[in-house]
């Protein structure tokens, strides 16, 4: 059933040049020219003494990287579900949001009682645990109620369903927690203080965020490559039916995949609590789409790729507007940050649809 497509496509396209290809090349080249012109313009400006100072740039790069790590962790949820089931779980951004929403209630209770500043590490651990538990719970519930019975359906059906789940969750949380934004208390104790690394002062929260992201990543990597469950996941990604015949419990493996994605989203939730702090019911939507971009950028289904994609995207949208658009003479470039993020997605898919590190998909999904 599956081995019908790939070879023919490659050979027939190589010798044909039609106007669509021409147009695509035109877009690619125009994009490159715009980037080049913008870069030279910005560099001239900076050489003339305009723009942020060196410290300003350093701050920008560091915060872009930390944001990127957060995107990367959310992206893992997309990537693993896509690898195993072949569908984009559009509601994953809301899985992330659910964790931070419950976390913010928890944190304000702890803050008011003085627990927050008295036991800084313990409170952060509690927030992490709460965010992870809630995100995992929501992810598993969504899988059980909405996605499970759609496994054999045409691939757009589960995607449309997940859009419905996404909106349902957003407005369910709006109803439960209210529509107004809430704020996490500032980082407890001395966690937020600057730490000097190679003579550069970096906010402690950012160091913590990067450390947690890397540690989580290593744990996940070991889990997927070294444990029996991880092997089952890869087997299910390769071929569900055969994996089932080999005695793997496909249902349970898929639930595990969703749970892992939810747990990663929970970790990303802690980072949000430390970095951005402001939370509302729609907080998951944009990070969700950005994280999907990161997953595609790194190569969907590829675990280290997701984190790399996150960092690259974070840098691109953090530094890109200032570095490229500013040079084109566009005013108030920071307004266009999200547009740059989306443009990055389009450009990635135009230049390298398999992502930076290549896709690792099951054979069912390569078509």
């Amino acid at each position: 059933v599956t081995a019908t497509t790939t070879p023919r496509k490659a050979s027939s396209r190589r010798f044909r040049f039609n106007w669509v290809d021409g147009f695509l090349w035109f877009i690619r080249i125009t994009a490159l020219i715009i980037i080049a012109v913008g870069l030279t313009g910005s560099i001239q400006k900076f050489a003339g003494g305009e723009g942020p100072t060196l410290e300003g740039w350093r701050e920008l790069v560091i915060s872009s990287i930390t944001t990127g790590f957060m995107y990367g962790l959310i992206a893992l949820g997309y990537s693993m579900v896509y690898g195993v089931l072949g569908f984009i779980n559009f509601a994953h951004g809301e899985v992330f949001m659910s964790g931070i929403m419950v976390g913010v209630v928890m944190s304000s209770i702890m803050f008011e009682s003085g627990f927050w500043d008295a036991n800084p590490w313990l409170s952060l651990a509690i927030i992490l645990l709460v965010a992870m538990l809630v995100s995992v719970g929501i992810a598993i519930l969504a899988e059980r109620i909405a996605y499970r019975s759609l496994r054999g359906a045409p691939r757009l059906i589960p995607l449309i369903t997940s859009i419905g789940v996404s909106f349902f969750l957003q407005y369910a949380f709006a109803g439960l927690f209210g529509v107004q934004a809430r704020t996490y208390p500032p980082a407890p104790g001395n966690i937020g203080d600057d730490i000097i690394i190679f003579g550069i002062p970096v906010a402690g929260t950012k160091v913590l965020v990067i450390g947690v992201a890397l540690a989580t990543m290593v744990v996940l990597w070991l889990f997927v490559t070294r444990t029996k469950t991880g092997r089952a996941m890869r087997a299910v990604a390769e071929d569900k039916e055969i994996a089932g015949l080999m005695g793997i419990n496909v249902d349970r493996t898929i639930v595990t995949t969703f749970a892992l994605g939810g747990a990663m989203a929970g970790v990303a939730g802690l980072m949000w609590a430390l970095l951005f702090r402001v939370v509302e019911f729609s907080s998951g939507f944009l990070p969700g789409i950005k994280a999907f971009t990161a997953a595609v950028l790194g190569g969907i289904g590829n675990i280290p790729g997701a984190l790399l994609g996150g960092v690259v995207l974070g840098l691109f949208e953090g530094v890109g507007p200032l570095l490229i658009l500013d040079g084109l003479g566009i005013p108030a470039v920071s307004q266009l940050k999200n547009a740059v993020g989306f443009a990055a997605l389009v450009l990635v898919l135009l230049f390298r649809p398999t992502g930076l590190l290549g896709e690792q998909l099951g054979s069912e999904d390569r078509a």
Partner: protein, 581 residues
């Protein structure tokens, strides 16, 4: 009760749903509207509607194709009572919890007022027993309905639905019966709730009519379904539909007509998206971008304000220019995504939609599009003998809109069986095979995007003439999603489906910014849209009025899987099926 786990599951999920509905504040805010005087408010209806449905479904038993459902009054009553008790106790415990803890500091809707709303102001111990009693009674009643004969069950459902329709659509009924004020005064209270006696009368009438004409109605709909596409019957039906559409706005009042204009705009966009999603199978989540191009294009071309760039053109002159702009936009969005996989395409188009909105809002393009200020002073549509018709005269504006709806419906209808329509169908079913047999998929995809974009630009042009001022917040991603819900609820690829979908969803629930007939829903609109989307995908992916071909595709998939399992891996049935197609 042979299937207790199922009954327990139904009871508990009904209880959780009821608690959820209470927790998000739905009951409290819906209680402001009374449906039937004095006892049934919209909040009560929502709360106990859940347990009614659960009781009925549990008494029918787990859906099982091998065993026909059992219809037995006593067993149904017992099952219903158990479901109702479980649901009622769950809800009561939840209310008790809220009452004791009062978490309103963190959960603003879980406050004492909500407890009062759920317990009918009776306070905690008494009110909780009332919740349990009503929920058991309602579910038991629903279960006992299974004791009625097939005919009477239909009569009962007709009666219930008619009463609800009269209660919900009070405004429409009052408008239609405008010439007979005394009937309206008899039926409704001054605040617009149904009088208890009129509920009884209306229900009995509907029951009687259902008993009398049920057979003929099914016979008739059977005949319509069997008839050829161009038969006399279908033509008569379509003509009477058009006649109804022409007469209805004259009868209805200002508010309902305003609503109809919104519905018509969404029908228009639904028809456009239907070409892209329903015919060509390209999931476009950024469809609002084309709507925005139409609206902003018209605004820039026709606006007479002193600020920014504007041309002050006549609306009819601006329209062709806007159409060309939209076609270019369709080409620009369509070309980069042509080689992308279906799901990547969805996210990328979503990205395009957001890019357009961000650009419209940015300082960079403010000189052209006004940024957050938007574009003001957009004149209406010049109509012979009537001057400029704008949103202040919905009774006239609706007809202008209808012309475009009719045009879009005609274009959709004709393209369905044309060369490109067949190319779309082939591409939707299997792109590789379509390409292999010589279908020009590139051309087909681009044509789908362009025609979808042009239809959306009609809607945009009408929208800006209607509202007179365009802001970017009318063009966020929710618009795209709501149009998608319309197409899916109606049935992908089905023109009557899109019309019914828009009337039901936009007319009742309302659009992204526009209120519907049930204005109380506005806060929970997107929650309900999300739930509807999930429900439709799980239970009826082909939509309310399915297109024959599309539903065959969807069920073909299931069929072939079952066949594959049954026959130990051979696709014998599958081949037969495709031979029939």
């Amino acid at each position: 009760m042979k299937d207790f786990p199922y009954v327990r599951m139904m009871g508990l999920s009904a209880g959780v749903s009821m608690s959820f509905v209470g927790a998000i504040g739905m009951v409290e805010s819906f209680n402001s509207r009374t449906l039937i005087e004095p006892f049934l408010s919209l909040g009560t209806f929502t709360l106990y509607g859940i347990v009614f449905v659960a009781g009925y479904a549990a008494a029918r038993g787990r859906p099982n194709p091998l065993e026909p459902p059992v219809h037995d009054a006593k067993a149904g009553l017992a099952t219903g009572l158990v479901v109702g008790l479980l649901a009622g106790v769950t809800t009561a415990l939840f209310v008790l919890l809220i009452d004791v803890l009062d978490p309103s500091e963190h959960f603003p809707n879980m406050r004492p007022a909500m407890v009062d709303a759920m317990t009918f102001d009776l306070g905690v111990p008494t009110g909780l027993l009332v919740i349990i009693a009503i929920s058991a009674g309602v579910a038991g009643f629903a279960g006992a309905l299974h004791g009625l004969s097939e005919r009477n069950r239909r009569g009962a459902s007709a009666a219930i639905l008619t009463i609800l329709a009269f209660a919900f659509f009070e405004q429409v009924v009052a408008d239609i019966l405008d010439f007979a004020d005394f009937v309206v005064d008899f039926l409704y209270t001054p605040t617009g709730a149904l009088q208890p006696w009129s509920a009884v009368i209306v229900g009995a009438l509907a029951w009687w009519l259902a008993l009398r004409y049920q057979g003929r109605l099914t016979e008739f709909s059977e005949r319509v379904r069997e008839s050829e596409p161009k038969s006399r019957l279908r033509r008569t039906l379509i003509l009477s539909g058009i006649a109804l559409a022409i007469i209805l706005p004259m009868v209805l009042g200002l508010i309902v007509n305003e609503l109809l204009v919104n519905v018509a705009l969404f029908i228009l966009m639904g028809l456009g998206l239907n070409i892209v999603v329903g015919y060509a199978g390209l999931l476009d989540l950024g469809y609002v971008a084309f709507f925005a191009v139409g609206a902003y294009g018209t605004a820039v071309l026709t606006s007479t304000s002193d600020t920014g760039v504007n041309f002050g053109l006549n609306w009819w002159l601006a329209l062709p220019i806007v159409m060309v702009l939209a076609a270019i936009a369709g080409l620009l969005v369509g070309t980069p995504v042509i080689r992308m996989r279906g799901d990547y395409l969805a996210i990328v188009t979503l990205g395009f939609g957001e890019i357009v909105r961000i650009l419209l809002l940015s300082d960079w393009l403010t000189p052209l599009f006004g940024g957050a200020q938007g574009i003001r002073r957009i004149p209406g549509i010049p109509v012979p003998f009537k001057g400029e018709v704008g949103g202040t005269e919905p009774q006239l504006f609706i007809y202008v809109t209808m012309i475009f709806v009719a045009a879009a419906a005609y274009i959709s209808y004709r393209s369905q069986n044309s060369r490109v329509g067949r190319a779309w169908a082939a591409m939707r079913e299997d792109e590789d095979v379509a390409e292999a047999i010589g279908v020009g998929t590139v051309r087909a995809k681009l044509l789908a995007f362009i025609s979808g974009a042009m239809i959306a630009s009609f809607a945009g042009a009408l929208f800006s003439a209607k509202v007179g001022t365009v802001f970017t917040n009318s063009f966020d991603v929710f618009v795209s999603i709501i149009i998608l819900v319309i197409v899916i609820v109606g049935g992908m690829g089905s023109i009557p489906g899109v019309i019914v979908g828009a009337v039901v969803l936009i007319g009742v629930l309302g659009g992204p910014k526009q209120p519907g007939l049930l204005q109380e829903f506005s806060e929970y609109k997107l929650l309900i849209y999300g739930a509807i989307l999930v429900f439709m995908m799980l239970k009826r992916p082909e939509g309310l009025i399915p297109s024959v071909r599309r539903s065959r595709e969807l069920h073909h998939e299931e069929l072939s899987q079952d066949a594959w399992l049954d026959k130990g891996g051979s696709f014998a049935d599958d081949e037969q099926e495709s031979a029939e197609v």
